[in-house]
C-alpha cells in the first residue's frame, strides 16, 4: 500500500463501502468499525498487549518481542487485528497489498458482526479501550507512589492467576459473613435469622472484611482475593480488580476463538467472491484464502476447523441455522453439537502422544477426538480451581481445590503459582488436587517459612 498511498487508500475506502453493502445484504449486522492503517511495530504492539494503551508489564514486552522477531525474520505476519468495542477498532498493516487489506476488511466485518450478536459477548464492556487506558494511568500512578519494582512484583502475582475469573460471580457474592454459611431449606429458617440478628450486633466490629468461608466454592480467585485478602492494601486491591476486569473482557474471546475465526473466514470468502475484482487479484485472493486454511504442522488450525464446521452446518441445516449458531454457541458447544465423523476424517484430526522421543498418532476414533477437543478449546485448557475456604483451620489460611476431571496438574508449576497466591493472601495457601492416577487426594501447601509441602 506504500506506493501510491492516497490512491490505494481511496480505492480501499471504496471497496470497504462495497463490502459493507454486500455483507449487510447477506445478513451481517456488525458494530460500527473504525479502520486505521498503521505501521508494523504498532500492529505488533497492539497484538502483544491485546488492547491499545494497556498497562505496562514485562510479559507484554516478551510477547511483543516474540511477535516482532517473527515478523523481522519473515516467519509470520499479523494481517488483521480487531478490537471488540463500540465502535470496533480494526488495524490494517500499511505494508499489506490492497487485496490483502480488502480481504482483511471483509474478515473484520464478520468479526464485528460476531461481537455484536454472539451471546457470550452480550455483557462485554464496549468502552474497554478507554477503561484500559484509565487502568494504565492508575497503574502508572501506583508505580510512581510505590515504586516500579513493587508494582511489577504485584502484577507478576496477579497475572499468574488471572485466568481464574468467573463472569457469573458478582462483586457482592463473596462478601458473606460466616452466619450465612447455612443454607435455607425449611420454612422455619426465618427463626434462625432472628437469632442471628442479635449475634451480628455483638460482633459488629468485624463487619468490614470478615474472615469468610464462601457458602459455595467460588471459581473467581481474583474476586475472592480482592474482597477478602487479609494483607492487600487498597491500591493493591485495585490492581487485582483491574486485572480481573480486563480478563473478564478477554474471556468471551477465549471461549469462542474457533467459532469466531470460522465465522470471519466463511464470510470473508463469501463477500470477496461477490466483489468485482480484477482477475490477478482473484488469484491472489484464492492463494491467500488457501493459506488461511492450511494445516500448520501438527497444530490445529482454528480457522480451518471453524470454517469447515460452519460450512457443514450450513449444508445440513441451511443458512438461517448458521445465524442461530453464531448467536448461541461457544467453541465447546460447537464441537460437541456439530463435529461429525466425516469432518474429523476430512480435517484429518487425530490424537497423538509422546512415546520415547517420538510423537506418535495413537487414535483416530472421531468421538475420542471430539471429546479431547472439547477439553482443549474454549478455555477448557485452564484447570478449574475453586476457593473452598478463606478461613481454613480458623487461621485465615486459603484453601483452594482443583476440580478433578481426569487431567493431572503440572505440579512444579502449581507450586510456583502457589507462591504467587501467597504474595496476595499473606497466609499459608493450600491446594487440593489428586495424585497421578486420580484416586488419592494430594494436598499442596506453601508458606515461605516452611516452604512447599505435599501430603497425601
Amino acid at each position: 500500500m506504500r506506493e501510491g498511498m492516497p490512491n490505494a487508500i481511496a480505492e480501499l475506502e471504496r471497496r470497504i463501502g462495497e463490502i459493507w453493502e454486500v455483507g449487510e445484504r447477506l445478513g451481517l449486522r456488525p458494530l460500527p468499525v473504525h479502520f486505521e492503517v498503521v505501521p508494523a511495530t504498532v500492529m505488533y504492539e497492539i497484538g502483544a498487549y491485546g488492547l491499545p494503551g494497556r498497562f505496562s508489564h514485562w510479559t507484554h514486552g516478551k510477547a511483543y518481542q516474540v511477535q516482532k522477531t517473527l515478523y523481522d525474520y519473515g516467519l509470520s505476519k499479523i494481517y488483521e487485528l480487531v478490537i471488540n468495542s463500540d465502535p470496533c477498532y480494526a488495524f490494517l498493516l500499511e505494508t499489506n497489498t490492497l487485496l490483502q487489506n480488502t480481504l482483511v476488511a471483509a474478515h473484520v466485518m464478520a468479526h464485528a458482526d460476531f461481537f455484536a450478536n454472539n451471546a457470550y459477548f452480550a455483557e462485554t464492556r464496549r468502552d474497554m479501550v478507554d477503561i484500559a487506558s484509565l487502568h494504565a494511568e492508575r497503574i502508572e500512578k501506583y508505580e510512581f507512589t510505590h515504586g516500579k519494582e513493587e508494582v511489577e512484583r504485584l502484577l507478576d502475582a496477579v497475572l499468574s492467576i488471572q485466568e481464574h475469573v468467573d463472569p457469573a460471580a458478582s462483586e457482592t457474592s463473596t462478601r458473606r459473613g460466616p452466619e450465612q454459611r447455612r443454607r435455607s431449606s425449611t420454612p422455619y429458617d426465618d427463626l434462625w435469622r432472628l437469632e442471628e440478628r442479635g449475634r451480628r450486633d455483638e460482633s459488629g466490629g468485624e463487619e468490614r472484611r470478615p474472615a469468610t468461608t464462601p457458602a459455595e466454592p467460588i471459581r473467581d480467585l481474583l474476586l475472592f482475593i480482592h474482597d477478602h485478602s487479609p494483607i492487600l492494601e487498597d491500591w493493591e486491591r485495585d490492581v487485582v480488580a483491574i486485572v480481573r476486569t480486563e480478563m473478564l473482557y478477554f474471556l468471551p474471546q477465549i471461549k469462542t476463538k474457533v467459532l469466531n475465526e470460522g465465522w470471519a473466514t466463511l464470510w470473508h470468502a463469501r463477500i470477496m467472491r461477490s466483489l468485482d475484482l480484477p482477475p490477478e487479484e482473484l488469484v491472489e485472493f484464492a492463494r491467500l484464502h488457501a493459506s488461511v486454511l492450511q494445516p500448520a504442522g501438527r497444530r490445529l488450525n482454528p480457522y480451518a476447523l471453524g470454517y469447515e464446521l460452519l460450512c457443514d452446518i450450513e449444508r445440513r441445516y441451511g443458512t438461517e441455522h448458521l445465524f442461530l449458531v453464531r448467536e448461541v454457541e461457544s467453541d465447546v458447544s460447537l464441537v460437541r453439537n456439530y463435529l461429525t465423523e466425516e469432518l474429523v476424517e476430512r480435517l484429518d484430526l487425530y490424537l497423538y502422544e509422546r512415546r520415547g522421543d517420538e510423537l506418535v498418532v495413537v487414535d483416530k476414533d472421531w468421538e475420542a477426538v471430539r471429546d479431547r477437543l472439547a477439553n482443549e478449546l474454549g478455555g477448557n485448557h485452564i484447570p478449574v480451581i475453586v476457593v473452598e475456604d478463606g478461613d481454613y483451620r480458623g487461621n485465615r489460611e486459603l484453601y483452594l481445590r482443583h476440580i478433578w476431571d481426569g487431567r493431572k496438574l503440572d505440579l512444579p508449576w502449581a507450586e510456583k503459582t502457589l507462591e504467587n497466591v501467597y504474595r496476595l493472601w499473606g497466609r499459608r495457601v493450600w491446594l487440593e488436587t489428586r495424585s497421578d492416577d486420580g484416586t488419592d487426594p494430594l494436598i499442596l501447601s506453601y508458606h515461605p517459612r516452611e516452604g512447599h509441602r505435599q501430603q497425601r
Binding site: 468499525v33 505501521p39 516478551k62 506418535v360 496438574l409
Partner: protein
Amino acid sequence: MFTLAIRRDDWSLHRKGAIDQARHMEKVKEAIKRNLADIVSEQSIITSDGKRLVRVPIRVLEEYRFRFDPEAGRQVGQGSGGTNVGDVIGRVGSGRGPGVGPQAGDEPGIDYYEAELTVDELGELIFEDLELPNLEEKRLRELESEAVRFTDIRKHGPFANLDKRRTLRENLRRNAWRGRARIGDFSNEDLRFKTWERDIKRESNAVVIAMMDVSGSMGTFEKYISRAFYYWMVRFLRTKYDRVEIRFIAHHAEAKEVTEEEFFTRGESGGTRASTAYELALQLIREYYPPDAWNIYPFHFSDGDNWPSDNERCRELAEELLRCVNLFGYGEIRQGRYTYHSTLMHTLQRIGSPKLVTVTISEKADVYQALRRFFGPEVGREVARA
C-alpha cells in the same frame, strides 16, 4: 457503518512495547547472571574468537500459572490428509543440533530461550564487581582508565558541543526579560557550550604472571578448565585496566615463557616440576618488574601431580614469591576420584600466608567461583586485614 483513517505520524512517540521489551531483556540478563557459573565454562564461548555473538541458553522466564501437565495424556493434532494410527508425526526436541551432555530439547516441557550476547556483554556481567585485589600505589607508570566527562558549561566553544537545551533556555530568558514570551532572535550571548575534563585515575602498574601446567598428567578436562579460567582472566584484565601486563609461562618438567597464543593452544607432555615455573616467574620479576614499582600477581593452575621431590623446592620459591607479590593464586583441578588435595596443595597451604589464595576446581561450574575467589571484592579486604 465504518470509517477509515490513516495514521502515519502519531505513532512515532509510541514506545510502550519497546520499553516493556527492554524490561524483559533486563530480566533475561538477571536470569543469565544467576546462571553465570554454568555459562562461564561453556565451551562454545571459550573457543569463540570473542568477536561474534554467542548464544547463551537460559530458561525462558516462565509465567507460572495453574495448568495441566503438558506431558500427560493425548493431544489433538491435524494432518494434511491420510494420517494413520502409528504414524510418527514429530520428535521431541527436534530442530536442535547434536551436542554433548544432557540436551535442552530432551527434557519435556522445558522451553529454552537462547539469548544472544556478545562476549563483551557477557564479560560485563561476569566482571561487574571483580577487581585486582590489594593493588598498591607504586612509582613509575600509571595504570590509567581514561574517560571524558562533560562537567561544565561555558559561553564559548566548538559548535559540536552546543548545549541546545541551555541555549534555548537562555534565549527564552533573554526574550522574557524584554517582555516577549517566545523563542527566537538568537544572539551569541544565548549560546552555551558543554566542556569536558579528562578523567584520569592514577593507578599503579600491575603485572600478572599466568602459569599453567601442561604436563602429560593434565587431561583434557584439566587443560580445558585452566584455559577457561585464563581466558576470562585475560578478558577481565583487558576490560577493566588499560595497562596490565600479562606474561605467560607454560611448564612441565621445565618451564618456558610462551606467547599468549601458544599458551592457549599448545599441549605438551612429560612430568611435572612446578618449581621451574616459580623460578622463571622470580627471574621475570627480578629482570623486569621490581616489586617497589609493580603490583605483581602470579597465578598457577595445575592438577597438583607434582614430583614429590620437587615439593620442598616449590615451597621455598613460593615463599620467596610471596614476599614480593600482592597476591599469589593457586588453582588445583581435581576431577572425580581425586578429590583429596595433592601434596603440592598441602605444601603451599602449610606456608599459611594470607596472600596465598588457593582454589580447588572439580567441575566446570567452579571456574566462575575461582574467578570470584581470586578477584572478588572480599579477597582484597581479607588480604588487607591480615
